[in-house]
Symmetry: C2
Subunit: 529 residues, 2 copies
């Protein structure tokens, strides 16, 4: 077993490591052969120094250099798609096809290409010009490194070295220090190889993107607080997210965090009367997708009591019991899920199906449904809003419409809320009462649709109020909005034409750039208005 | 002496107070007659409860209701302009005319009207539509109260109950709890009266804006962390700003802070050769404006050594010595300034003029210039970057261009940096070396212009990297960008037309709203594209 190299200062090299780790195969529980380093603080500090030196060089290059790199990287990933998706399947237990080959890898390369197109087109920078006063502003790089920490559940599309945060941070013109998730180090390494090959062929300085596998939490906090660092992007658990938030904010750094969400689904009485069974099918497919390991997993279903709710519950139980349990990413996920379920049972909820890990080999969990009375939920609303990461959901049956409103009002910040209503308008009045409450609690509000499936669209909102994320004004999916998270607003006051960045000169640099000039969006040059 | 009332729950009422305080007249040092309450925690909690109840009502009203209120409030302020400006002069020691009557009051009402226009026009919400997938998003209210804490130095334009933060927070649709600055409570009360009169004539719920004079720091922190609170906006000292930041972020609340800035001014050799005396005049006017009590006060001047620098310094000393010292807002400001100056002297800087408070009655300070060698600055860059709030500035004479570059590189985050260069291009090479360094350190970069004077323009950037503010992506001056600080991004996925907010329906609600539809900014409706 040879120790795998890190990518620092533009080179693959032997790590100055503290300790080593191996990934597991979730289908067998066996260790996978490669040995990966946990970087020392010295290694992190060295990477941060390299990144800091890159900043002036990177800032001086035209956006085209970043766009070309991102596009080339997408091609490099495609050239390696067999080995990347096979490795991702091996490290995660999720199926190579369709999950990785047909869905997540194309999503990843599409996201890189969309980001490249946004960088080339340039309108993301919201160039704003006041011609009368010669005051101008646009978004530009932060002037520091962005540390990207990837999650366990999307080894490609959210990977620290290939995912949305990575692409957005680079798009804004910042160097990136990417930390893989330790559950899929080999997949991350392969993506980092695609990145490194594209980097070598680009005009970008060699240390523009650096890559490590792991660090100790205290070293991570030190890196975040380091003078070279401007921001951190993290997707993962609430406990880790809060620790990162504290480390970052104490040092005056920006922290973009996607931490936890139970994604409540409200099933209104008319919808249940009309199509309980169909909704149960949609719910099951959404809840068990990727073994339930999605940040948009529907973890709480609030149903109006009646014949429809009985049908929904019975149909969901049947579907859950008859589904073929997928694999969890790690043993710990199953253990945590069991603890969460035990806590819910102790607080008076009832187990409808599942509730336990399945016999090894492999990490599997019986698809799980719990039910709790609305009254019990009202009494302990926080206790019943604990994210259950995995194939599990809690159903709350509400005797009265008032119960649904109370539950909505007691919710924490979430990424999403879904409302299922009668197609011919029977639920409209209740919808109109529920919607204003839910609207202020979540980032994305869905109608007649489960929350999984987050399209990479400029209009997408993947974010939400605390504790779902750290700032409700930003989305972590959907170009170009994602880029703004990693950008500073740069104002120019009385600066003559030849010293302005091209996006702010009188002449529209491409003729296609959208700019806000004297109160109107336009693609015209200043003198052409 | 009667205790002045607070405005809570839509009514002027007797405060449930903890203690009382009086303002001083800075021109005499004497206490002013009115007695003002320091609110108890119970009073704050009650106000927060009122504000929370307002949220659904406020959210349900059309934007027009907020626009009308803001405009009416501007008129009410104008109707009281004599008493407001006279009181502001009395409480601050700054001249009623021109400072308040001709400059700050018109700026305040203009800002309210610009914000009203932005609310009515609606483009601030960045409506984004993906017609193919029926995914839509826009910015909307945060779902919680915004606590606005005003500064000491702009009793009108930045007042918590009439200034930019107040207007922006309300514009986004949030209720506001405004805390006046204790140095100008009566001015704040008069502005709050204008606000309350406009509120009574509006469709807005009575507790949409509430107003208190003061609270204890620990109660302020509790209010910020309260479940009803979504965000806090603060303008003031770094120490207080950092305490507010910690209290807010620990509780997952947004904190927008404008904390400190020394606003470095770089005088390049050609500029000094060409017009040293003229620049010294501009510098003096800017540095002594409002007795130097501006967040954009030029507190650090970095000059290229030579005949020009000698002329500049001598001329500046003459102008400083011959200026008529204005009044400081409080005795403490003078005491703090003396301490800061002592610290700089101990570290090896040299006093060129001033350096001490003037004899009472009244709080005045001799206009002060200090000088330090570039080498000494390099050795202790942090020590020489302490904000001196008041009529004082530190000059650093640089024997070599390299010294200017080193000083630029060692700067903390600032609101502004100014570069003065030769008008015929002699400094261009040095400019091109300095600019990229300064660009990433500041919000607004000026050419041949002093930093004071922050136009209320959509293109204005009044903000900057930490520790100047808490987030470099936002501006606290300039509509509509300021509004986005107090807004959440609201996504709609598969929501039918009749349930969408007007801004996101296919039909452009006004025909004037700018929206980003399928990748292009347009005022057309969806079916008209």
């Amino acid at each position: 077993m040879s120790l795998q190299p890190v990518f620092i200062g533009g080179q693959w090299r032997t790590s100055r490591y503290l300790s080593t780790f191996q990934a597991n195969n979730p289908r067998t529980g066996e260790k996978l052969p490669d040995l990966f380093p946990v970087s020392t603080w010295e290694e992190l500090a060295e990477a941060l120094d390299y990144a800091q030196q890159v900043i002036p060089l990177l800032t001086a290059l035209p956006p085209e250099a970043r766009a070309e790199f991102l596009e080339n990287m997408a091609s490099k990933i495609e050239a390696k798609q067999e080995i990347i998706t096979a490795t991702a399947a091996l490290e995660t237990g999720l199926p190579q096809s369709p999950r990785f080959l047909e869905i997540e890898l194309p999503r990843t390369t599409d996201q890189l290409r969309q980001t490249a197109a946004a960088v080339r087109e340039g309108s993301w920078c919201l160039a704003t010009i006041d011609t009368h006063r010669n005051i101008r502003s646009k978004y530009g790089p932060l002037g520091g490194v962005v540390i990207v920490i990837g999650p366990n559940n999307f080894p490609l599309a959210f990977n620290a070295v290939s995912g949305g945060d990575f692409a957005a941070a680079l798009a804004a013109g910042n160097p990136v220090l990417a930390k893989a998730h330790p559950l899929h180090p080999k997949t991350s390494q392969l993506l980092a190889q695609a990145m490194a090959e594209a980097l070598a062929e680009s005009q970008l300085p060699p240390a523009t993107v650096q890559f490590i596998y792991h660090f100790q939490p205290e070293d991570g906090s030190k890196a975040i607080a380091h003078p070279a660092t401007a921001a951190v992007a993290f997707t993962g658990s609430r406990a880790t997210g809060l620790a990162i938030k504290e480390a970052a904010e104490k040092a005056g750094k920006l922290a973009y965090l996607e931490m936890s969400s139970i994604n409540p689904v409200f099933l209104l009485p008319g919808a249940l009367q009309e199509r309980a069974s169909k909704i149960a099918e949609e719910f099951t497919a959404s809840c068990l997708l990727g073994s339930g390991q999605f940040c948009t997993n529907p973890g709480l279903v609030v149903l109006s009591e009646g014949a429809g709710s009985k049908d929904f519950i019975q149909r969901a139980i049947d579907l859950f019991n008859n589904s073929s349990p997928g694999y969890l990413l790690s043993r710990e996920i199953g253990l945590n899920l069991e603890k969460k379920i035990q806590a819910l049972l102790q607080r008076g909820s009832q187990l409808l199906c599942g509730g336990h890990s399945l016999p090894e080999p492999g990490y599997r969990f019986a698809p799980t449904l719990l039910q709790v009375k609305a009254q019990a939920f009202h009494e302990q609303p926080t206790a019943f809003q604990q994210e259950m990461f995995g194939p599990a959901s809690l159903l709350v049956v509400c005797p009265k419409a008032e119960d649904m409103l109370m539950i909505a009002a007691s919710l924490e910040g979430n990424l999403t809320a879904s409302l299922y209503a009668h197609t011919q308008g029977k639920d409209e009045s209740l919808y109109q009462q529920l919607e204003p409450i839910l609207r202020l609690k979540v980032g994305r509000l869905l109608n007649d649709k489960m929350p999984t499936g987050v399209a990479v669209s400029p209009a997408m909102m993947h974010g939400g109020p605390f504790p779902a994320t750290g700032h409700p004004g930003f989305s972590s999916v959907g170009v170009p909005a994602t880029i703004l998270r990693f950008a500073a607003r740069h104002g120019y006051d009385n600066v003559p034409q030849h010293r302005l960045p091209p996006e702010l000169m009188d002449k529209n640099p491409t003729g296609r750039l959208w700019r806000f000039i004297d109160g109107a969006w336009t693609q015209a040059s200043v003198n052409e208005k």
